[in-house]
Symmetry: C2
Subunit: 406 residues, 2 copies
Amino acid sequence: MGRIVQKFGGTSVADLDRIRAVAQRVKQEVDAGHQVAVVVSAMAGTTNQLVAWARDIGPIHDAREYDTIVASGEQITVGLLAIALQNIGIDARSWLGWQIPFHTDEVHSAARIEHIDTAAIAERLDQGQVVVAAGFQGISPEGRITTLGRGGSDTSAVALAAALEANRCDIYTDVDGVYTTDPRIMPKARKLNHVTFEEMLEMASAGAKVLETRSVAMAMRHNVNLQVRSSFTSDEGTMVVDEDNDMEKQKISGIAYSRDEAKVTLVGLPDKPGIAATIFEKLAENHINVDMIVQSASPDKSRTDITFSVGALNADKAVACLKTIEADLEYKDIVSDPDVAKVSIIGTAMRSQPGIAKTMFSVLAEKGINLHVISTSEIKISVLIDADYTELAVRSLHDAFGLEEA
Amino acid sequence: MGRIVQKFGGTSVADLDRIRAVAQRVKQEVDAGHQVAVVVSAMAGTTNQLVAWARDIGPIHDAREYDTIVASGEQITVGLLAIALQNIGIDARSWLGWQIPFHTDEVHSAARIEHIDTAAIAERLDQGQVVVAAGFQGISPEGRITTLGRGGSDTSAVALAAALEANRCDIYTDVDGVYTTDPRIMPKARKLNHVTFEEMLEMASAGAKVLETRSVAMAMRHNVNLQVRSSFTSDEGTMVVDEDNDMEKQKISGIAYSRDEAKVTLVGLPDKPGIAATIFEKLAENHINVDMIVQSASPDKSRTDITFSVGALNADKAVACLKTIEADLEYKDIVSDPDVAKVSIIGTAMRSQPGIAKTMFSVLAEKGINLHVISTSEIKISVLIDADYTELAVRSLHDAFGLEEA
């Protein structure tokens, strides 16, 4: 007996049959005696249609209107799921973001949840009614509909679990858990039973698409018991947990990769103090997130090269905005390369196991894979490589670190 | 200079091009110096999809969830239209039913508007911002989304015009006004420049599909200047006005017909007091609206026949529920006939011109058209005839009353 938040994404509610299957999943938890709040996304096809309409109606985008349009997607799903539950004898009602409400800031299309009033829904849960909540949406201080940005339903679910002090937050998805790496490119990839919050965070930001970064950070902050599991099988999924102290981890946990990267190099910059600051301030002003950075000596000793990686969609914008300060930077050339990928190994084991970086670099060197940029955190090492080598790098590292064995 | 409410239905906003055309219509009024509030329906295809989903998800229909689902349709349109307006330089924002708000009662799917808080939107209108309001929807006392039933956007527009004390309420539709009869079956049908509220009411309830009955009644009650005009041409439409006192009308105004009728006859009822009351009470209890009624002598003198008309969809239900009280009614037979149509002539001229009924019956008799039931009001005469004769009846009456000439 306890409170459970279940979250079902767009592919899990893509049509009426799947919504009925979701209703059965909810029923299992209700039958087990739990109080259940369900958070749902829009039906997969609906979101695409709404986004296309909002983009195509005209070049000017008022984010408040955009949010009004796309938030109708979850509105449809919550109503349909509530009816599906009622049809199998489960007391249920739908709740829109503004009805609960999910109070957010006013940053439309990328709003942050500030506070959830749980009084009304907690009362319904105590009465045994299933709460069917629209994910992804909230209400601004001005009373307008906001959205959290795509993928935001994970964050809605975790925030709701935290506010309701739920015993568990189950994120249902089209994979059955978190894997050591992407099974599509490494058949020997193994499902993890546990992963720590920090590892999950690093995996998400390194390109693993299982959970959204913000939702993991929020779960960590509020210590929400998070589980990733499949909508389509009844297998146990992967629990995302606090770092496990009773066992010294011997291995890294996973390998992530991302092809949505581009490399930009400024060649032959004058080697003077403050030049890096000028560059990265300019990029920040233009809302371009820089991921990895390396500075290297130019053949001309008085000059230096700076290479950094950005999201592939931002590469042209980064080049264009740095060209506007060409006179200040005095670089000799600026080049961008979209054919790169980032491969990362992640694991809290790095804290206690020296030599992991050395192993990684040796393995890649043996395969003749050139490393353009390297970056590390306490529990992660990322390298930027030519995109063509992505699969080879992932498989070689998976073998080298013995990830197929539990 | 004044305040104008414009209403655009589902076919007028059926795709992005039409929404852009609507934006141009709005711009014309803004450019003419008017304050403009626009009420829109859902895109025609969207409504059909939403209704289909809500029906197909399961046999139990919680009307509150149904309303949540279908109200997302207008939510999409208001956002798109607001963006379309902004893209042609018009300041505009969308308003959902709960944001304005349109307070309604709690009768989901057939809610009545009780009160509209116009403070917030009136302030925006005064600032020159176009108000883009979702039609068809409101908010219940409990804070849930309600809908007014299909076609309810006309009522939303008239209610908003009344609450805002607008100078005019223009209902844009796919016809360019109110005609003397349906031009599809009578090519000589003529567009009316004026029609009175009462005539419009009778026409709507007699089957003319131009305006919803409730919206006309509301316009009459609040004396809203209502105009029916085309979304696709810039011609003047038909003004719905208070009865014109300075001119004695010589002719009827229009001929309406409806094929959505069925005739039910109870044969050989005992001719005793209270038997009609028993029948019509039973039907009312089962929410079956009876339109026309006639009682006639049976060949057996101690017995009587009662014939009435109901909406075609209710015929089987009416027969079934009367069969449950067969023992009380002691009828000899009950028969229903769906192949009937109602043809009505409407006009305030009937008040001052005697002989209109006689002309009508003579014309129909000349054509050999049998009248099953007749009903009259002060400004309307309706007859129930065999459906096959509908077009012939409409055309003959149109000619006989000289409606092609202004």
